[in-house]
């Protein structure tokens, strides 16, 4: 026979089980709910880290900010990321503006107290490995598990942002955008299949250590070229002295080397700002007589590319649209 007390206990137990199973339990303010939901081991730049299987309160910094906002991660704090703002759509920008800023543009501007106050159950750091030294990771680890997933070579944003989304438990939504991007890229590759494979491309970039007297030449897989690569554009040549990161796919020769660097190019693309204006470092190249004397320039085959700093699939779709608009005259030639 069941007494009333036993029935009440069973009902409470069933309710607790149901809430746990559906994830409707209160997360509380102490970030312990995720731990109750289980943990998993995640492989990051800083080692194999035990993180919540389903994080509820995530802090993101650096390159992790745009992909995690776009994928709808449960963010409670982010770093500022001004360079990504011009490539954010209205919804992403609204979320970016709304979220508390717990770190600045530089890794050294990390506000540990603000991060602790946000009570995260996961911290995703998206800065390059050398910059990680500017952050007191042990101090962050005392607040919540820390996964560092930073940029390496430019075209690796695909894998890196996916891993960031995976850590934050929002892989499903992220992959949906990835599928959209791949479909769009395939569509454009088909559109330009009779034109692009026949051309040898070269690119003038505007990223990194461009100063007066030199220019940035980008090869396959660099910031200015990786999205164009996805629709079939091939950038010939390779870096003379390979470095690490973006230095493995781009170099900064003297302006004197412009004629020899681009002598074989059938077509030249160049990076422009998100509003279409030409950056000062690229303008320096475009205004020179050496540029005007290049075969590709004389043939009228120069193409500006916007959104070359895209580091998420949603941003890269904007790059695809910009490339399509810029390359359109190629179909008429």
């Amino acid at each position: 026979m069941f007494t009333g007390r036993t029935v009440r206990r069973c009902a409470a137990l069933l309710l607790a089980l149901a809430l746990t199973a559906t994830g409707c339990g209160s997360s509380g303010d102490d970030g312990t709910a995720a731990a109750e939901g289980g943990t998993r081991v995640f492989k990051a730049d800083n080692g194999s880290i035990t993180i919540p299987a389903k994080p509820q309160r995530v802090v993101a910094t650096g390159y992790a900010v745009p992909p995690l906002i776009e994928a709808g991660a449960p963010l409670v704090g982010i770093s500022t990321w001004k360079r990504g703002v011009p490539m954010m759509d209205a919804q992403t920008k609204a979320t970016y503006d709304r979220l508390p800023k717990v770190a600045g543009e530089q890794a050294a501007e990390t506000n540990y107290e603000a991060i602790a106050k946000a009570k995260p159950d996961l911290i995703v750091i998206g800065v390059p490995a050398p910059v990680l030294g500017d952050i007191d990771v042990n101090r962050l680890k005392s607040i919540a598990p820390v996964v560092a997933i930073g940029p390496t070579v430019p075209r690796a944003w695909r894998e890196l942002s996916r891993r960031q989304a995976d850590a934050a438990g929002v892989l499903q939504k992220y992959d949906a955008t990835k599928t959209q991007y791949e479909a769009k890229a395939a569509q454009l590759a088909a559109k330009y299949k009779d034109v692009l494979p026949k051309l040898k491309f070269a690119h003038v970039g505007a990223y990194g250590e461009v100063s007066k007297g030199n220019f940035q030449r980008e090869f396959d897989g660099s910031w200015g070229t990786n999205v164009a690569n996805d629709i079939g554009a091939k950038y010939y040549g390779q870096v003379k002295q390979k470095g690490t990161g973006s230095r493995s796919v781009s170099e900064y020769p003297s302006i004197e080397e412009l004629p020899s660097a681009f002598a074989e190019a059938d077509a030249i693309t160049y990076s422009v700002n998100t509003d279409g204006s030409v950056p000062e470092s690229v303008k320096y190249v475009l205004d020179s007589d050496l540029w005007k004397n290049l075969p590709a320039v004389k043939a009228g085959r120069t193409y500006p590319i916007r959104y070359t700093e895209a580091a998420t699939y949603r941003q890269a779709m904007m790059t695809l649209d910009a490339i399509d608009k810029s390359f359109a005259p190629l179909l008429k030639q």
């Binding site: 007066k212 004197e256 050496l290 004397n293």
Partner: protein
């Protein structure tokens, strides 16, 4: 023959001989300058055959190699000559004026003034293009020099102290602004390490003309500076207006160092090294020191600029880094020499 006549008769051949010696040194310097300038336009990141270099100058046909020589290297060599001469002559003036053999043009706040103006100009969006950068740097250099002169004109020591103090204040404020504004820091960091690269399309005619006029002015002022170098009382006794000489010299330093810094960014040590290096040749004559400094300052910057193009296999380094490498050991030599002379 009177005693005075005998003395003059003895001195005149000595003076004539000394002047001939100085003229010979000058001729050798000019020949060296011409040779280094020719080599300078033949050397660079892209290899151009010597015959093509000559044809670019005498029979231009618009090929890529000739374009490199005419449009990139020749203006750069001209700029090196102007900036090198300007900094070296400014160094002579500031060392003579302050009676401090370790002084250099930046000590009077000109470089810090230009740097502060570039920082503020970058924050306001006025220093992104080369012409804008040139204008704000010049304005900053002039304003800093006026302020230093207004406060410290009563004595050379006060002038130097005011320059050092103003430099510290302006550098501190600039640093604060750059720390708060990363975009400004980005623009400033390329300007702050002086370089002659990429200036070929900047409006250089006006600053180079100003440098030319100021160098001539410094030569004309040399005789009066000779007297001022002996002390204010001696200069007064010789009929030289110390105040007028000092203010004229400061204007010339401002024009020379300000124009050089505006077009190339801060290039340290040229204004310090060259006067020391050529002082033994000038034999105590400020006018000859000025002439030799102008020639050898140009030679030094041409050589340093060639080094900046070819020293590293990875690409160019700013010329200010090369002069700093040369300047460090020379500064130690100068300090030791000054110390030995003083003891």
């Amino acid at each position: 023959m009177t005693a005075a006549g005998r003395e003059a008769g003895v001195r005149r051949p000595e003076r004539t001989g000394a002047a001939a010696g100085q003229a010979a040194v000058l001729a050798a310097g000019v020949a060296l300058l011409a040779a280094v300038a020719v080599v300078s336009i033949g050397v660079g990141a892209h290899r151009v055959a010597p015959g093509e270099v000559v044809r670019a100058l005498v029979a231009y046909d618009g090929s890529a190699d000739q374009m490199i020589v005419r449009d990139v290297r020749a203006p750069r060599a001209l700029l090196a000559v102007g900036v090198g001469a300007a900094l070296a002559v400014a160094g002579v003036l500031v060392q003579t004026l302050s009676r401090n053999p370790l002084a250099e043009p930046g000590i009077l706040g000109v470089t810090a003034g230009a740097g502060f103006a570039v920082t503020v100009g970058s924050a306001l969006g006025a220093a992104a293009a080369p012409a804008g950068q040139l204008a704000v740097a010049t304005a900053g250099a002039v304003l800093a020099a006026v302020l230093v002169y207004a406060v410290g004109r009563s004595s050379p020591l006060r002038l130097v102290l005011t320059g050092v103090a103003l430099s510290a204040v302006l550098s501190g404020v600039s640093l604060g602004m750059r720390l708060m504004l990363p975009d400004v820091f980005d623009q400033y960091r390329f300007w702050s390490v002086g370089s002659l690269a990429g200036r070929e399309r900047a409006p250089l005619a006006l600053p180079l003309a100003a440098i030319g006029i100021a160098v001539v002015g410094a030569l004309l002022l040399g005789r009066a500076l000779n007297a001022v170098a002996l002390g204010d009382n001696v200069a007064h006794a010789l009929g030289v207006s110390v105040t007028r000489v000092r203010s004229t010299a400061l204007v010339l330093i401002t024009v020379l160092a300000g124009a050089a810094t505006a077009v190339a960014g801060p290039i340290m040590f040229v204004g310090l090294i060259v006067p020391h290096a050529v002082r033994p040749l000038a034999r105590g004559s400020v006018p000859w020191l000025t002439v030799h400094a102008a020639v050898f300052g140009a030679v030094l910057l041409l050589l340093a600029d060639m080094g900046s193009r070819v020293l590293l296999p990875t690409g160019e380094v700013p010329v200010a880094i090369v002069t700093a490498f040369i300047g460090g050991p020379v500064l130690i030599w100068a300090v030791r020499r000054y110390g030995a002379g003083a003891s």
